[in-house]
Symmetry: C2
Subunit: 191 residues, 2 copies
């Protein structure tokens, strides 16, 4: 659902090809929405058919031709309508979907050591994710030229803060679950 609108949003900043969109998408939106290259091309074809975007081909020599996409007035309207639409927008953020938690739910079928090891991996993954985040401000700066004004990137930073808070929350949770398991293991031994 959102992939479409992500692409429209980027095209609203500037004219781009599918290839460009793929890269910019992965640099900016991929933190909260993942899309395969093949899917991006499919959506672009579909949106052109709907008249939301318009393409023109630039013939290149030595390289494959480039297909430049531009937002049509209708596409801009669709984007703005989606952006302002309130339906389901808020609930969505609280929505969790995770196969890790599914495994944890059934973890009673395995020895506790297995789960403890997984939680430790979660801890490590959080630490790594938080470290990797230090490169994001640089990326934001690199894209400053694309944004019509500086205020635009304020929201990008808000999304970043969300990521930070999220990773930290998971780390804290994993720590306290590990502590809980240790306590429980001691109790078991006494018996």
């Amino acid at each position: 659902m959102s992939l479409k609108y992500g692409l429209l949003g980027l095209l609203n900043y500037e004219k781009m090809s599918g290839y460009d969109l793929d890269k910019v998408f992965k640099d900016s939106l991929a933190f909260f929405w993942q899309g395969q290259t093949s899917q991006i091309y499919r959506e672009l074809t579909a949106m052109e058919k709907s008249g939301w975007i318009v393409s023109e081909i630039e013939v290149q020599t030595g390289k494959p031709n480039k297909k430049w996409y531009t937002l049509s007035p209708q596409g801009k309207k669709e984007f703005m309508d989606w952006l302002a639409a309130p339906e389901g927008a808020v609930e969505d953020l609280l929505h969790v979907r995770s196969s890790f938690l599914m495994r944890l739910f059934f973890a009673g079928e395995l020895p506790p050591e297995h789960t403890a090891a997984m939680l430790q991996k979660v801890r490590a993954a959080c630490a790594e994710a938080l470290e990797n985040m230090s490169s994001v401000p640089g990326i934001v700066d690199n894209y400053q030229h694309m944004m019509p004004d500086a205020e635009r990137s304020r929201y990008w930073r808000m999304v970043m803060f969300f990521g930070e808070g999220y990773y930290k929350a998971i780390a804290r949770w994993a720590d306290s679950m590990l502590w809980l398991m240790k306590k429980q293991a001691k109790k078991e031994k006494k018996k």
Copy 2:
């Protein structure tokens, strides 16, 4: 991917019909994995074809017939293999996917008041979600009979703690973003 295994996991506790599974699923697993009723029936049909589960029909009068599903040895094996499989299990928890954040990213196209209102709704939704969570321990107790032993539900509680931490983190984030926006609005006025 996980829906299948969620159903197997529940059938590992006890024999159930699609209808039962649908309800139990929504009471327990739906916090971290959503599945429509129609999807559940589809997966059950598919898994029976694969030989992971076996069905027997109970003829009822006054009510529709019931189709009881049991885990086959192969199904149990598939479940245990999935449960212990480490591939991608951890990364998955750190994975974010949210159309709310997509909208926030592009929020510069709208007046800041619009975004502030959305953030306030997020705050309210977190508070509500945390309140609703108080009923979960009761649900866990209700299902105690299904679990082979008390330790099994320890992991259910861990999942619950995750939810709590998650909602609290979002609430804190939303608060600080609102504070940030207020500060910024004052600056704008001065100019």
